[in-house]
């Protein structure tokens, strides 16, 4: 049994949050650069130029990329042969989140659903983090992190289709969700599509799909094809950067597909904005 110190996890989580707050990941930066080069609309081109300049300023001057520094979302795979010494893993991740958000001058954006009271002085600064755990073989802890802003989360949707809807039904649905969203989720976006499983499994899969690097190819050939097809369809919508009209509405479509019940075809669409702050560490 390998032992990992509670405080080492706190520090590791704090560090990735500080880093992601100001440094746009390379995959996203490269994809935006390519989008700028290929964008046909001069207005959208200028918007993407500003987005890239913003990323440069944020990195050089250590300023948050966006004022919406998001809720902290984690996918954590815990090896069966690991033990956290000195506290609970969940508490360590929350503590690291609070420290990272405070140290990097990020915004505390968690609140009560109805009174809208900010939770920074009661629960903790930008707490609680959203954490999805999984147990795997081995003696490591694998942490995937993304900052998830409200603008893009607000346009996300899920629906359980009858099986007969098939691929065509899913493609239409994704297109409809992105069309209705327009400029609100800060395009150029990444679109996460969760297919199959149960209702909540589809939702979590669509979220996890956003953690994949832009430009990576889906291992499942059929899904890789479908990603390409949906991306093409979305970019025909003409929404463009920040909805101002253009040919680059989405940078990528990522699909995660799961086995499902014989009676249903759940689909979830989760959107990530151009400020796709995400990373991955193994402890």
């Amino acid at each position: 049994m390998r032992e990992i110190e509670f405080n080492d996890i706190v520090k590791a989580v704090r560090d990735i949050i500080v880093h992601c707050g100001t440094d746009l990941p390379q995959d996203t930066y490269d994809a935006l650069k390519e989008a700028m080069e290929n964008e046909k609309s001069p207005v959208s081109k200028e918007v993407i130029r500003q987005i890239l300049e913003n990323a440069d300023i944020a990195k050089d001057e250590k300023r948050p990329l966006c004022q919406d520094t998001g809720l902290a979302v984690f996918f954590v795979k815990v090896g069966e042969d690991v033990k956290v010494k000195g506290g609970l893993l969940k508490d360590a991740i929350n503590k690291g989140t609070e420290q990272g958000y405070t140290d990097a001058y990020l915004r505390a954006s968690t609140c009560e659903p109805f009174s809208r009271a900010n939770l920074k002085d009661t629960v903790g600064y930008n707490l609680p983090a959203i954490i999805h755990f999984d147990i795997v073989a081995g003696d490591k802890i694998d942490i995937e992190y993304a900052a998830k802003g409200g603008g893009s989360e607000n346009v996300s949707r899920a629906r359980v289709f009858p099986p007969a809807a098939g691929k065509a039904g899913i493609i239409n649905y994704v297109k409809e969700v992105i069309s209705d969203a327009g400029g609100n989720p800060c395009p150029p976006i990444t679109v996460g599509v969760g297919i199959g499983g149960t209702f909540e499994k589809a939702c979590i899969s669509s979220k996890h799909a956003l953690f994949r690097d832009i430009g990576s190819v889906n291992e499942d050939e059929e899904m890789a094809e479908m990603e390409k097809e949906i991306l093409e369809e979305i970019n025909k919508l003409g929404i463009g950067a920040m909805g101002m009209g253009g040919t680059k509405t989405a940078l990528a479509v990522h699909i995660e597909s799961n086995p499902c019940h014989i009676a249903s075809l759940p689909v979830s669409v989760n959107v990530q904005c151009h400020s796709s702050r995400h990373t991955h560490i193994t402890i």
Binding site: Q50, P64, D68
Partner: protein, 185 residues
């Protein structure tokens, strides 16, 4: 598409020359407010009470900035999604405000109010919080400090880059731009 440099407070003469798609560098004072602050401001207007700032010619920026780093006037400060202000903006425009800065589409009532009261809805680049925050040279909370990032701030901007989305003639850049680049099968 024309480019302008304008200084607040704006007048009808300023706003009437702008067309959807024009880019503007704004200078002068802006007031920040999101939905929670709008709710309170509109309640004051309805009761006929005094507002924390003069609405005449004002430009309202929909933003909830990050906390400033030591020595900075403000943190990152890009626009938030505007539809949450749709139910309040017509009242603000009717009472003298001339502009709004945000991101994302507005409802018909807001677009109509822009036509009726010579208002402009400007779009700023969402997610460009570091770049836009740098164009803000001073910031001061003037009302509702208890709202935290949502408090009303008086900010001074220098060459703050925005694009005209809805003009005083009923045009909408989101619709125009999309129509132009949409590919129909």
């Amino acid at each position: 598409m024309a480019q302008y440099t304008l200084t607040t407070p704006l007048t009808s003469k300023d706003t009437k020359k702008l067309k959807a798609g024009d880019t503007v560098l704004l200078n002068g004072t802006l007031f920040t407010a999101r939905d929670a602050a709008h709710k309170r401001l509109v309640a004051l207007i309805e009761k006929g009470e005094e507002l924390p700032f003069d609405l005449e010619g004002s430009v309202i920026y929909f933003v909830g900035p990050t906390p400033p780093k030591p020595g900075d006037p403000i943190g990152s400060a890009g626009p938030t999604t505007s539809y949450r202000m749709d139910s309040f903006s017509p009242t603000m425009l009717k009472n003298g405000s001339k502009g709004m800065i945000g991101k994302g589409k507005r409802d018909q009532a807001v677009k109509d109010a822009c036509v009726d009261y010579d208002g402009i809805y400007f779009g700023a680049t969402g997610g460009a919080g570091a770049l836009l925050g740098k164009q803000i040279t001073s910031a001061e909370v003037i009302a509702y400090p208890e709202l935290g990032p949502e408090a009303v701030r008086k900010i001074t901007v220098k060459d703050f880059p925005v694009t005209v989305i809805n003009d005083t003639y009923g045009n909408d850049l989101y619709q125009m731009g999309r129509k132009q680049y949409e590919v129909k099968d």
